[in-house]
Amino acid sequence: MVTLALDQIGAGYGRQMILRGVTTPPIEGGALTALVGANAAGKSTLFRRIAGQLKGPGTVHFGGIDRTELRYMPQDTAMSAALTVFETIILALKQGGGWRLSAAELAQVEGVLARFDLSHLADRQLPELSGGQRQAVSIAQTLVTRPRIVLMDEPTSALDLYRQVEVLNALATYAEETGAVMLLALHDINQVMRSCRSVIALAGGQVLATGPTLDVLGPEMIRSLYGISCRVERCSRGCPMMIVDGVAQPT
């Protein structure tokens, strides 16, 4: 079982510390884990710290895995270069490798395109794509090496509703198949409730709570994370969902 655990993680830019003492129990692979929190809560900073792009105190424990198997998908979707979708995926696969592509590598690219419903766009150039398509390409690019620890910063922010559901399902399937730890920064609480097994709630650079999705995401936690008042109720089929009542009155 692949796990990822954080122990007293800190990180920041220059002298400004964004994260302080971020600690989590081991996050287990095989299902999606959501990283939730308001804008500027430190989600992207946490990802960059785990990915090794930022230095800081504390330890990241990779259980049963080498850190080279980690892939991080940044939030920025502004990919623009004279490259086709197919080439963009190849690029992630071949970093550090030779110039030649084997049939197996081409099949790997083909496979990840099919998984994220991008096969029909393979020969299109990046500048011709819509924002949502580019985001899907970015996701495929992140997973082409079949990493077993995956950090994705808002992977669904540019997707329409259909694509959000489709992509989250595909990511959950990937997690099940590979046993990978999948940590996704997400803003849509209902999507989190529908697709994620567990949640890490981040506010002001610190962890407010971690645990199974429904244990963490109650009305009180959502209120302290986002400052809105809401109810979490079961729909007629028994699925939990959040209903927003409005902006929370300061207490």
Binding site: M79, F86, G97, S119, Q125
Partner: protein, 354 residues
Amino acid sequence: MTLSPTALPPTNARAYRALIARRLAILAGFAALLLLSVAVDISLGPARYPVADVVRTILSPGAADMQMRVVVWDIRMPMALLAVTVGASLSMAGAQMQTILANPLASPFTLGLSAAASFGAALAMVLGVALFPGALTLMVPINAFAMAMAAALLIFGLSTLRGVTVETIVLLGIALVFTFNAALALLQYFASEQALSAVVFWTMGSLTKATWGKVAVTAAILVVTLPLFARRAWALTAIRLGEVRAAAMGVPVRRLRLEALVLVSVLAAVPVSFVGTIGFIGIVGPHVARLLLGEDQRFFLPGALLAGALILSATSVLSKALLPGAVLPIGIITALVGVPFFMALILTKGRKAW
């Protein structure tokens, strides 16, 4: 070779293989055109020789008549080949500047290297100042090289500072262009008539001072830098998707950028110090390659190199052919003839990579 139906690669992989084949064909086409252009370039001059005779003289110099051998081998070949190496160097330098600075306007010309070289050359021609005393016959190119490297190192040094973005570097380059142009104008204002005309002629760019030595130096620099860039082909391509994303793929972005800047500085400064200001190649060569071959550096890099070499070689042909008996300064022709061609290319292809 036979493949069983199950072993056939799926459609997209097949399409990709076809794309690769097409690109190789384009590169081969470039190379063939370049050879042709060089042959024509050598055949043109005050004495016109048939291209076939020229090719024969090149292939078996011993069999050719004395006068033709001297003209072809000692006068015209260095010029024709210097056009190739200089065009290739400037274009490759421009290509990698555009890549690492994520800016389509970056080139040895727009970042101030050419202007710095002109100023260095003018220091020698107007004031007789040798930045490195010693070889007085090489005072002009050495001054030009020293100033171009100084400009490059200034940009290079500033880019290592914390918080300096690629936009800052490009703006700094533009500031350098204006600074050196103003300094050059000041020198010209005080220059004697003779020195003034030398400076003006130098800044127009010319291949007429070509020697085998210059060809060898520029070729050697290409031979050294090309494999260094080629080894980094995937990483350099990844940088075009943005720093954060490239870093996420494991590319050491800062180090790669610094290494590339050093290589690019040498690659641009040497040719500029030999031939003067040839502004157009460093921007257009890479753009032609990008439009026809995309930005996968495995094709983009040789493409930019060949495109730059071909453009400057073809320009050299034109500079002799336009006015029979006269060789127009090549820097003028590159812009006059190249710009309409370039405009047509970007407006018709319509792919917006930037």
